[in-house]
Symmetry: C2
Subunit: 208 residues, 2 copies
DNA sequence: CATCTGAACTAATGGTCGTAGTTTAATTCC
DNA sequence: GGAATTAAACTACGACCATTAGTTCAGATG
């Protein structure tokens, strides 16, 4: 088997009549396959070989669409940040004050639980010298800043508060994903408590 | 070069007069070398080959002392958790209330900043079916529980509070280590703000 | 139909972890 | 002191992995 030069059909389901010159793979599909693997089997299961196999293609072929393994996790992270931003926006629109914080926090955790591999990719991808990744992270952060509007914080204090909220949410979902909470105590209740504490802390800074 | 069977002296500096049967390596030294590499060049730089090279030994030799790469990061995590617990205890002893929380939080962050690779190992090591690792994590958690004593929380509420504090601290130091804070705002001040928020949140639950 | 672009291929390199089997040094026992 | 035992380090391999170089051919363009 494996005739030399044997051409495989690798993307002939739908969208074959577009303006593209060839019906094969593209970067979107490759990153999509990697994202599915990451969420199903963990980010560590995302290898060039595995993604290629899932797409019915040899490993080197992926380099035509994606910049190696780093490009793969970068692509996952980019998509994850976009989806997370959208989820946060959806949850917080039309709400204000503590209700907005609560809704955004729940959406944040829900995304991380539903897409553990994608969320992990946002940690692993290095934003140094990657403006696109930085911008995506910035957009996500700005949703959190907007959620804090009612506390009327200004300048650095707003940044401090946003960092605090993000740290708390990030820490919780990471510990939860890594099975870091040993005791058999309801995690939903712990998360609600965390959010209540954050809101209490924000209120405390207001009437200080 | 590299005569077959050439014996290397690999641990003849100091402590050669102990009761050990052989002056070669032992698990402590191997994990110690791995820990140094992790803190200096990142946890990803910890490979069996690299640790062996640093010890002046061939890679397979390490398997006499440590259970492969997983054993290496497990060993690092174990030592990190012990050191972290000690640092937290040292910082919080003799203090109470918000002063104790502040001191413990500062010690937590200081450890993570001083030992980024070791701290990362505590995330990567999987505690499933590893009672020793679970116990070490539990001991660290108990210091945090003790720090919260003055808030007189009971039962699940104490667990919720401890998880919240740990999540916040963990999230902050992870984001800080991954260069996750984009904007040029003083990180020390942000951390102090986070701790103030946590204390405010704890107080809010007391007079609720 | 001829040309050309580029997507996928084969082949090869160098890195990783881990195992099997061997050699030999150090210790212990007689 | 010499023999037996223990175990630490070795060489040699195998199975992956990512990545690069060079080749082939399918499909679109003129």
């Amino acid at each position: 088997m494996a005739e030399p030069g044997g051409r495989r059909r690798a993307g002939d389901d739908g969208r074959a009549g577009g303006g593209r010159r060839r019906p094969g793979l593209d970067g979107e599909q490759v990153v999509g396959a990697a994202l599915r693997i990451a969420d199903a089997d963990g980010l560590a299961a995302v290898t060039v070989a595995r993604v290629a196999a899932d797409l019915g293609v040899r490993a080197p072929s992926l380099y035509n669409h994606v910049d190696g393994l780093d490009g793969l996790v970068r692509g996952i992270a980019l998509r994850a940040l976009g989806d997370l931003e959208a989820a946060l926006s959806r949850a917080s629109v039309g709400r204000s004050g503590s209700a907005a914080v609560r809704a955004a926090a729940d959406a944040y955790r829900a995304y991380a639980l539903a897409h553990p591999g994608a969320y992990a990719a946002t940690q692993q991808a290095r934003p140094d010298a990657d403006p696109e990744l930085q911008a995506a992270a910035q957009r996500t952060t700005e949703v959190l800043l907007a959620v804090l509007r009612d506390w009327r914080l200004e300048g650095d204090e707003l940044i401090h508060a946003a960092r605090a909220v993000r740290s708390a949410l990030h820490g919780f979902v990471v510990l939860e994903a890594d099975a870091g909470f040993g005791l058999p105590v309801d995690r939903d209740a712990s998360f609600a408590w965390l959010v209540t504490m954050l809101i209490g802390g924000l209120d405390a800074t207001r009437d200080r």
